[in-house]
């Protein structure tokens, strides 16, 4: 089971995403699934990539009750972008990675907002974008956590 940490982290991300939280806290919730996807696309690009992103997005669509394909599209695009950038970003210091995460989450939110706007069911409020900021803030901790998880497996 080489994929165990990957699967567990994706599962936890889905769990954290569906965890009920007060209405006011929704604007502060990091996009856990996007973060975990970015990490694994960066760490193991040969195994985790566009298709995984697409599948996870589909799961999220079903969980959220949104249109099928909406999050699937945005997450596969994120995976694709990370695939282009991963060689450079791996060398970045953590805070610069955070900046990149900020931009990527913005892209994710943007694609979602765009699709929801086209289908005519969406009015944007500015708090819609704040998860990008919280995601960027959470990134360094998540990065270290997931990296140590991966390292321990190699030691064994």
């Amino acid at each position: 089971m080489n994929n165990l940490p990957v699967m567990v982290s994706f599962l936890l991300a889905l769990l954290l995403t569906s965890l009920p939280i007060p209405e006011t806290a929704v604007m502060f919730r990091p996009e856990w699934l996007v973060l975990v996807l970015i990490y694994w696309c960066m760490a193991t690009p040969e195994r985790i990539g566009i298709f995984t992103g697409w599948l996870m997005g589909l799961l999220l669509d079903v969980m959220y009750g949104s249109m099928l394909g909406q999050n699937a599209m945005s997450l596969s695009v994120i995976a694709y972008l990370v695939g282009i950038l991963h060689l450079r970003v791996r060398m970045f210091p953590l805070w610069q990675q955070s900046v990149m995460v900020f931009v990527l989450v913005l892209v994710h939110l943007g694609i979602n907002a765009w699709i929801r706007g086209i289908t005519g069911q969406f009015t944007i409020v500015w708090t819609y974008w704040t998860p990008a900021l919280t995601s960027a803030l959470v990134w360094p901790f998540l990065f270290i956590l997931l990296r140590d998880l991966g390292r321990q497996r190699i030691k064994r």
């Binding site: 009920p20 566009i50 079903v62 969980m63 099928l68 969406f122 409020v125």
Partner: protein, 291 residues
């Protein structure tokens, strides 16, 4: 930058893959937006994510179970007392309602109307999971296993809440009246004036467009479901008119209304199955059944 352009321009396997998947996503979205054909597929995937959603509700459930178990007995007694009184009151009203219903039925028979609307209801509890942010949707703990169907009306003690949009084995998703994609045919209870209420995406606000300036509608009017379109049953309270404005440049009135139910409060709602009881004595209908 140059490399980025080269990579974007040169067709790499990744580029092919992303293009295919984006196309697939768009196709999925188109089908899902226009038709109901993907509901089955959604159900299958839902059974995969159901355990995740179930686990995520557990912490909240545990906290609630704990707070309920440490409720003081005096507190419970007062609640019990007030519930008993309310029950008595409702009972007395129900007695009256029974006789009224009988009257109504008799009069309908006299008029030759053969159909009577009866409703079957089921109590459903809200499942506390996070749905897509900034949508007006809720999740219920009853699904297709309990014969919940897409388009089913959902009410609570005060009035109409919304309608079911997705069902899976154990859960269903309900779009609230305030969702921008939601509309409900209504009439003014005072005079039967018909209209349609649209969700605005803003909590506690429904819009009633296309009413001309001479429409007899006032602030404070109660709007009830009219039963037009056949989706929502007739006669349930929906909203009260809070604002009427006449914009000189607009030939229609701007009417804002407040839903009678607090859409984001409460833990229980009722699912209803509107059904027609066939009158066996009616020869016309008998014929129809025989065919």
């Amino acid at each position: 930058m140059r490399e980025l352009i080269r990579r974007l321009g040169g067709v790499t396997p990744a580029t092919v893959r992303i293009l295919v998947l984006v196309a697939l996503s768009i196709a999925l979205m188109l089908i899902d937006h226009r038709t109901q054909q993907l509901e089955k597929f959604r159900n299958i995937v839902q059974t995969v994510v159901y355990p995740i959603m179930y686990i995520s509700t557990m912490p909240r459930e545990m906290v609630r179970g704990f707070t309920e178990s440490i409720e003081t007995s005096s507190n419970l007694q007062t609640v019990n007392e007030s519930l008993r009184q309310e029950n008595l009151l409702l009972h007395s009203r129900l007695e009256k309602l029974h006789s009224l219903e009988a009257d109504n039925l008799r009069l309908k028979h006299l008029l030759g109307q053969s159909e009577q609307i009866a409703e079957q209801v089921l109590l459903a509890e809200l499942v506390e999971v996070s749905l897509e942010p900034y949508t007006q949707q809720i999740s219920l703990n009853k699904g297709s296993r309990d014969d919940v169907y897409v388009g089913q009306p959902v009410i609570n003690g005060d009035g109409v809440v919304g309608q079911v949009v997705h069902t899976s084995q154990f859960q269903s998703t309900v779009t609230l009246l305030t969702d921008p994609g939601s509309a409900i045919p209504v009439m003014v209870m005072r005079n039967g004036l018909r209209g349609v209420l649209f969700g605005t995406g803003v909590r506690n606000k429904l819009a009633m467009p296309y009413m001309t300036a001479d429409a007899d509608i006032r602030i404070g009017d109660l709007l009830i479901s009219s039963g037009m379109g056949g989706r929502f049953p007739t006669g349930y309270p929906v909203a009260t008119v809070t604002e009427i404005r006449q914009d000189p440049s607009d030939e229609f009135l701007t009417i804002n209304t407040l839903p009678v139910t607090q859409l984001d409060h409460g833990r229980e709602v009722l699912l209803i199955w509107p059904e027609t009881i066939k009158d066996q004595n009616n020869p016309l209908q008998q014929e129809f059944i025989d065919e």
